[in-house]
């Protein structure tokens, strides 16, 4: 006998959509929160060999619980290797050894650049955010970046208050000009859908909407005139396996 699962929430759809992007990845660099949950879910249902790398220096961590911090003890205890911060950035991130990076941000602009420093003026900020952390170099040198953010007009802004992290910079060719070896943001996964950069302009376009979400709602929740990809698709419904695994993970 199977128990009917409750319909997925927007947060669950976002996590499941992000996890699916790791189906064929060899390694993923993750921060805390939803990115971490998505990566653990990917290891459970899509890609058991996925190597999880946390900023704290834990490479190949296999946590059973979703960690609260990037340095929880379980990460070090289950890792293949635990390295210092200089080694993490100089030997692992800089040379592009890590395939995908999951990053969050307080603001995302149309070219996938990110702000995690201040809202308002730098000298007199309305809101002081935590700051760069590892994001600038992670986004520059991991082979690709997936941004995970809540979909609202506060987050998706036409112009950043501060550019902490370069996505596609000022447009096509900018990453190369800056000497970045990674491809930059290939997807932005929100609780409403997925945005991907246009191959010619690098501008983020709506390529996927989650089940139950109307396109109108996505456009309203974006602070610029969001373009829609001609081949816009509907995110496939979560499978029973994905949903059950995610809920079990969150209940641990």
């Amino acid at each position: 006998m199977t128990t009917a699962l409750e319909a997925p929430t927007a947060a669950e759809l976002q996590t499941i959509a992000a996890a699916r992007l790791l189906r064929d990845a060899s390694s993923v660099f993750i921060g805390v929160g939803r990115p971490s949950t998505a990566a653990l879910l990917a290891r459970m249902v899509h890609n058991p060999r996925l190597v999880l790398v946390y900023e704290s220096g834990t490479i190949g961590a296999k946590p059973y619980h979703i960690p609260l911090s990037i340095g929880d003890g379980e990460l070090a205890e289950t890792a293949d290797a635990v390295v210092s911060v200089p080694e993490m950035f100089n030997y692992w991130i800089g040379p592009g050894r890590i395939e995908v990076a999951f990053l969050g941000a307080a603001q995302v602009d149309p070219l996938g650049n990110l702000n995690s420093t201040v809202i308002g003026d730098y000298e007199h900020p309305r809101t002081r955010l935590p700051g760069a952390g590892g994001a600038p170099e992670i986004a520059a040198f991991c082979r690709e970046v997936v941004v995970i953010a809540p979909h609202d007009r506060r987050t998706f802004v036409p112009r950043l208050d501060f550019r902490t992290t370069v996505g596609h910079g000022d447009g096509p060719g900018d990453r190369r000009r800056l000497g970045f070896t990674g491809r930059g943001p290939t997807a932005v996964v929100t609780d409403l859908g997925v945005l991907e950069p246009d191959a010619d302009t690098c501008e983020l376009r709506l390529t996927q909407i989650h089940p139950g979400v109307e396109v109108e709602r996505v456009l309203e929740a974006t602070g610029w005139e969001l373009k829609i990809a001609p081949d816009l698709r509907r995110t496939p419904d979560p499978t029973a396996e994905e949903l059950a695994a995610l809920r079990e993970l969150l209940s641990r």
């Binding site: 003890g73 911060v85 200089p86 760069a132 170099e137 040198f141 800056l178």
Partner: protein
């Protein structure tokens, strides 16, 4: 001197070590990347009323939230000022947004920048070379410069060495000669000690002999000024294998620290009013 005298870390009390090594106005790095954060030592610095400090730390975390909120710092050098997994550091924000209880000058970097700055300091080099910062607004707001590689001509970024007056870290164990061993997430513990003019290491326990651990980092006692036993001294962070991270406290801190008066009362009751050896 050989044969008559070996320099070695002095085994002392936390109170004596802080009194001797940390002075008003010093540039102080209390390090620990999520793990092994030297809370007990930071609290002792506050109890002894040190002022006008330049506080250096990659991840300010709760400890620097407390030190900023008590007005101990004139300047903060950092790369990520958040409560990991929880949200904002409210005292850090209040200091920067409203200058409460005093205005704090800030210098911020990326993690890669800070880590390389410590490594350059440890090597007594004037700067470190790296790729990064370019294309960001951070580059104009902080101390970095571009240099050209003398071999390939590539444009690279230079970050200035960090040379704190004093570094303070926590570790699991020391032996009676003051040799220190830590394991688990090593952060920039070793780099912080080696970059500083003076250093203090607090440890969970003093042992007769250090037993090598997988991934263990050993810092010889002769590069450390003082070692003080401080069991539980990294709580609410943790010392792998001995204590566990108090994640509930990290969540609770969000509530305790929002309000200025509640924060101050909490600090007086739980930090300033506590007597230690």
């Amino acid at each position: 001197m050989r044969g008559r005298w070996w320099p070695m870390a002095e085994l002392t009390t936390l109170r004596e070590a802080v009194a001797e090594l940390v002075h008003d106005g010093d540039a102080v790095a209390l390090e620990g990347f999520t793990h092994l954060i030297p809370f007990a030592a930071g609290h002792e610095v506050l109890r002894q009323g040190r002022r006008e400090l330049e506080l250096i730390r990659m991840t300010p975390d709760i400890l620097y939230d407390q030190m900023l909120g008590m007005g101990a710092a004139r300047r903060l050098v950092f790369s990520y000022g958040g409560n990991p997994g929880v949200g904002s550091l409210h005292r850090f924000r209040d200091a920067i947004e409203h200058g409460w209880p005093r205005a704090v000058e800030i210098e911020e970097h990326s993690h890669a920048g800070m880590a390389n700055r410590y490594a350059a300091g440890a090597a007594r080099l004037p700067f470190a070379v790296m790729r990064g910062y370019v294309g960001t607004d951070l580059a104009e707001r902080t101390r970095v410069a571009t240099i050209e590689c003398p071999f390939t001509g590539e444009r690279l970024v230079a970050v200035p060495a960090l040379r704190p007056d004093v570094a303070i870290i926590h570790a699991q164990e020391a032996d009676r000669c003051g040799n220190v061993q830590l394991w688990g997430i090593p952060g920039v513990q070793k780099e912080a000690v080696l970059s500083a003019d003076r250093s203090l290491v607090t440890v969970e326990r003093i042992v007769d002999q250090l037993v090598p651990r997988p991934g263990g980092v050993v810092i010889p006692g002769w590069v450390i000024d003082a070692v003080a036993e401080a069991p539980g001294g990294s709580q609410p962070s943790y010392s792998l294998g001995i204590t566990t991270r108090d994640n509930d406290f990290y969540r609770e801190w969000d509530r305790l620290s929002r309000d200025r008066e509640r924060f101050t009362a909490w600090m007086h009751e739980h930090v300033l009013g506590v007597a230690v050896a």
